[in-house]
Symmetry: C2
Subunit: 345 residues, 2 copies
């Protein structure tokens, strides 16, 4: 797909100026092919690279990219392409959201996490010293081009952590898809192309349907946050030694234990969830080095906190989240959360 990028982008946009934003690692593999293909389809292409890694979602890289937009003489009708993983997607997407008060952009995700989650839904942003994604915008991509062939070059740990978002989408929205994941552990772990195409497409379908109902996360979109409330805190408290998916795995188990403590679990879902995550090589506990106090403090600062305490997305059953009084995220007493954290460390 990346080699045919020009044809796919031309199906949505007439030829115009394009700035392709990528990271140095991804660019070494794919930038030449993408640029050539876009040029072949009549686009006028400029490029801008950032170093790989989360630290590029920063004030200084953001403003370097604005300067690149200015140097490329981008106009409101121009186009930005985000070629890379979640960091490039969030950063380039945010440049597109804010340069000239918003220009269109295309996602070309090259990691599993980006393909199964972050490239869809329009969340873009950068980090502040105080936390991840504290500055950002909702800005929907005009096209998401997921080439699963790019996943063959991924680091194994990154790849497996990316599968956690597939588990999440299945758990909140589609019990049959959860069955499918359970039955396809082997091909999943060996990057079977047909299975990868299926999960990239299923995840997009599930996420896009939720986002279309509630693009700016006023209510229902919160269900995508399942496992992420404690997950984000664990990820930050680990000083990012845990990958996002790994932290969310522990966060989903925590959500399941909260459901259990509230008497909501009447099926096998918690044990099925734990087994599936373990088979995918994911942690289902919180690392011992992380203190409960640090997690509680991070939860109080959660972006979505209301009155300095976050709400939690819970399952009603596998494939369906709990909705009570039109609310999709629920009040859970801090004491109950502390008990779960103690049990998980």
């Amino acid at each position: 797909l990346l080699r045919e990028a020009g044809r796919h982008v031309a199906a949505v946009f007439s030829p115009r100026a394009v700035l392709v934003i990528s990271d140095e690692q991804v660019a070494a593999r794919y930038l030449g092919a993408v640029t050539a293909s876009l040029q072949g389809a009549g686009f006028s292409v400029s490029t801008a690279l950032v170093p790989p890694g989360e630290q590029s979602k920063s004030k200084d890289r953001l403003f370097d990219l604005y300067e690149a937009c200015f140097a490329a003489r981008l106009e409101r009708r121009s186009l930005i392409v985000a070629l890379g993983g979640g960091v490039v997607g969030d950063l380039a997407g945010y440049v597109a959201a804010s340069y000239l008060r918003g220009i269109p952009f295309v996602q070309m995700p090259t990691t599993l996490l980006a393909q199964v989650d972050s490239s869809v839904g329009g969340k873009t942003g950068i980090n502040l010293p105080g936390g991840k994604n504290l500055v950002g915008a909702f800005h929907q991509p005009s096209l998401v081009l997921s080439d699963v062939a790019a996943l063959a070059t991924l680091d194994d740990r990154q790849y497996r952590a990316g599968l956690v978002e597939s588990v999440k989408h299945a758990a909140i929205a589609d019990a049959e898809y959860f069955d499918y994941l359970e039955k396809n552990i082997e091909p999943l772990l060996s990057c079977d192309t047909a299975v990868l195409e299926h999960i990239a497409s299923e995840n997009c379908r599930i996420k896009a349907a939720v986002v279309a109902e509630d693009p700016t996360e006023q209510n229902k979109r919160r269900i995508l946050n399942y496992g992420h409330t404690l997950g984000h805190a664990v990820e930050t408290a680990s000083a990012f030694s845990l990958l996002h998916g790994e932290a969310v795995a522990a966060g989903m188990i925590a959500a399941g234990m909260l459901e259990d403590a509230m008497g909501l679990v009447k099926d096998e879902r918690l044990s099925r969830l734990r087994r599936l995550l373990e088979q995918l090589g994911q942690p289902t506990r919180i690392p011992k080095a992380i203190s409960k106090a640090a997690l509680i403090d991070l939860l109080k600062r959660d972006k979505k906190a209301v009155g300095q305490w976050p709400r939690f997305v819970l399952l009603e059953q596998l494939g369906r989240t709990l909705c009570k009084e039109s609310q999709w995220a629920h009040e859970v007493a801090p004491e109950a959360v502390e008990t779960v954290i103690e049990a998980l460390v």
Copy 2:
């Protein structure tokens, strides 16, 4: 109104955390009263100040304010108040647009330009070294509280330049309002309260109606750009020695001359426009120090350029802009623009 700010904000928002952003000059006059009033209405108030002047619409001041939001533990339901002129409104509005991907904000404009124009419509942003407002967002204020008593302390030149946006709104949308301005030169220049309340309210009404039809400037909102295409270029080329309104005054005359060259002027509007602007003490020519080449280069980089040349909003008659083939901004040959520039320098 500023002394009663708490009551007016409480009519829209239940008590919650508020960060009031202002500049040091405005804060010295009004911050105490606004803070006390908000606290009296039950809001929990933090404050953050920037230096006065356009140079505060910068990367560094923006990120200082994000840190202030973090220190104030703002949540998505919290509120930002912009207390000041256009610079504070644009900057604080952009903080509100982008912190946590958007939190609500209230405008409390204290200059005429902000009251009659920039506080309404949701354009927020900061400057880059290459140009004004190159980074920004559309983010509508939940409330605009315009206290005309604040205008009494304004610098006279700033005040008169602010009146230019009233002339603009009248010219594009309301011929009766244009008559009113012509008949009220004296009370306008002497800051008569009743006249000021009338123009603040008329401008809001006209601008809000246009913005409600096209919030993100896809088409009709462009009419607000009347006089601004060349105006922005003149303002930048003067290195901001001309005030915004002064540059727009020259830009409106230029638009009128383009209309004339195209055979569109069959009434007295160009002479009426020139006379009204002169009576308000505004320049109707381009300063000699500005070169045509600099203006042409700036026009090519206009944010709204299409194929590196901007389109121009033109009048059909006083009180109505020209709309042709559903377009509100029109192609004008670069040669015609050059001729007008030569005639105006």
